[in-house]
Symmetry: C2
Subunit: 220 residues, 2 copies
C-alpha cells in the first residue's frame, strides 16, 4: 500500500504508535471532514485560519477572495501545511494524567500554486462544492464571469503527510485499576440535521437528493 | 463591554461585518470547544497541531510532554496563536458562489511562558481537565510526582483576539431568487453520546454526575 515518506516535517515523534503514513488512510480522513485549519507565517508568527477545501488525487484545493491575506501569503511562501481533525471521543481515565481523546488527524505539506487554467479552476470549484455536499454542484447556478474572476483558487500538491489516530479505550496505569474510580469513553460525533429550506424558495422546489443523502449519511 | 483592540494581527479584513472583538463573545466561543489548533513556525513554515486546552480569565493553558516539539517551539518564539472553530451549518445557496458555512471561530494571540510554580501548574492541569468535562477533576486520581514533573504546561496570556461568526441563512444575488433552484441550510452540531464504561471497572462504580451532565448538555 502506498505510503508517504517521512522527514522531520511530517514524522510523528510524540506517540509514534498512533501514526500512519498510508495514503488511503490519510485520504479517507481528509475526505470525511469539511473544515481544515491552514497555517501561514505573518511577521514571523504562525496564524491559523479555518477553511473549506477539497481533495482530488494528491491535490488539496482552497478558494477565497483575490485579496485573502492568508492565501496570498501561502502563494508567496510557495509552501503550505494544513491540519484536519475529527474529534471522536473523550477518554476519561481513572487518573488525570491518562485523560485523552479519540481522534483522527492529518497534517499535509506541499507546494502551492495558483490555479490559472480556467477549466482546471472551474473543476477545482466543483470539487470544493461537492466536498461539502457530494453531487450538489450540478444542482446550482454555476459561477458567472465576474464571480469566477473574483475567486482565487490555490492548489496544494501533497508532497508529504501524516495521520495520527487514537481509537481505543482507557489506558490507565495497572496499579490504578483497583481504584474505586469510574473510567470510560464519551463518544463524540459531528452530525447533520434536516435541511431548513430558504423562505424565498420558488413554489414546488423540493430538497435535492444530494442534500437529502448528505443529511441521511451524517445523521446521528 | 470590554473589547480587544485591533491591529494588523487580529483585525478581520475579509467579511468585517462578521467580526467581533468583544471579550465575552470570544470567551464563550473558547469555552464551548474542546480542541484548538495551534500554529507554530518550523523551518520558516507554519505547522498546525490540534490540542486540548483551557481558558481561565485572559489565559489559555496547553499541556504536553516535556519534549513536545510544538510546545518547545512556542516557548522559544515567546508568542503563540491559536484558532478555535465551531462548524454550525452548511449554507447551500442557489449559486455556487454564495455557498458558505455557519460557524463561530476565534483567533487568539499572546505571549507564552512555561508555568513553573507547582501550585499554578496543578491548577492549570485542573482547568484543562475541567474544560473537557466540567467538574470531573475531583473524581479522578490526581497527578503523582512523576506524572507532574513529566508534563510541560504553557500559559498564553491573551493580548489580542478576534471572533468571526456567521449565523444566518442564504445570501443569494437578488437576481437569482427567481431561479427554480433549492437553497437552504443544513444545521451541523458536535454531539456527545452516552458514556461507555471501561470493562475493568471495580464493582458498583457508577458513572459520575459530571459525566452524566456533560452528555446531557451535549446531546442532540
Amino acid at each position: 500500500m502506498a505510503e508517504y515518506s517521512t522527514s522531520a516535517l511530517n514524522k510523528v515523534v510524540r506517540g509514534p504508535k498512533r501514526a500512519s503514513y498510508d495514503v488511503g488512510t490519510i485520504n479517507t480522513i481528509l475526505d470525511d471532514a469539511f473544515l481544515c485549519h491552514v497555517g501561514y507565517v505573518y511577521k514571523n508568527q504562525a496564524i491559523v485560519i479555518p477553511m473549506a477545501y477539497a481533495r482530488k488525487d494528491d491535490k488539496i484545493y482552497l478558494h477565497g477572495s483575490l485579496k485573502n491575506r492568508m492565501m496570498l501569503s501561502l502563494l508567496e511562501a510557495g509552501e503550505a501545511s494544513i491540519s484536519v481533525t475529527h474529534l471522536d471521543g473523550l477518554v476519561l481515565a481513572r487518573s488525570a494524567f491518562h485523560h485523552s481523546a479519540n481522534y483522527r488527524s492529518v497534517n499535509v505539506f506541499g507546494k502551492v500554486k495558483k490555479v490559472e487554467d480556467p477549466e482546471e479552476k472551474m473543476k477545482a470549484l466543483e470539487y470544493i462544492l461537492n466536498h461539502m455536499v457530494p453531487g450538489h454542484w450540478d444542482n446550482v447556478r454555476q459561477p458567472n464571469e465576474k464571480e469566477f474572476k473574483g475567486t482565487l483558487v490555490l492548489e496544494i500538491n501533497i508532497e508529504t503527510a501524516s495521520a495520527k489516530i487514537r481509537a481505543e479505550g482507557v489506558n490507565d496505569e495497572p496499579g490504578d485499576l483497583d481504584l474505586p474510580i469510574w473510567a470510560g469513553v464519551i463518544p463524540i460525533k459531528q452530525v447533520a440535521f434536516d435541511a431548513i429550506s430558504d423562505d424565498d424558495l420558488q413554489k414546488d422546489i423540493k430538497v435535492p437528493n444530494a442534500v437529502l443523502n448528505y443529511v441521511t449519511n451524517n445523521k446521528k
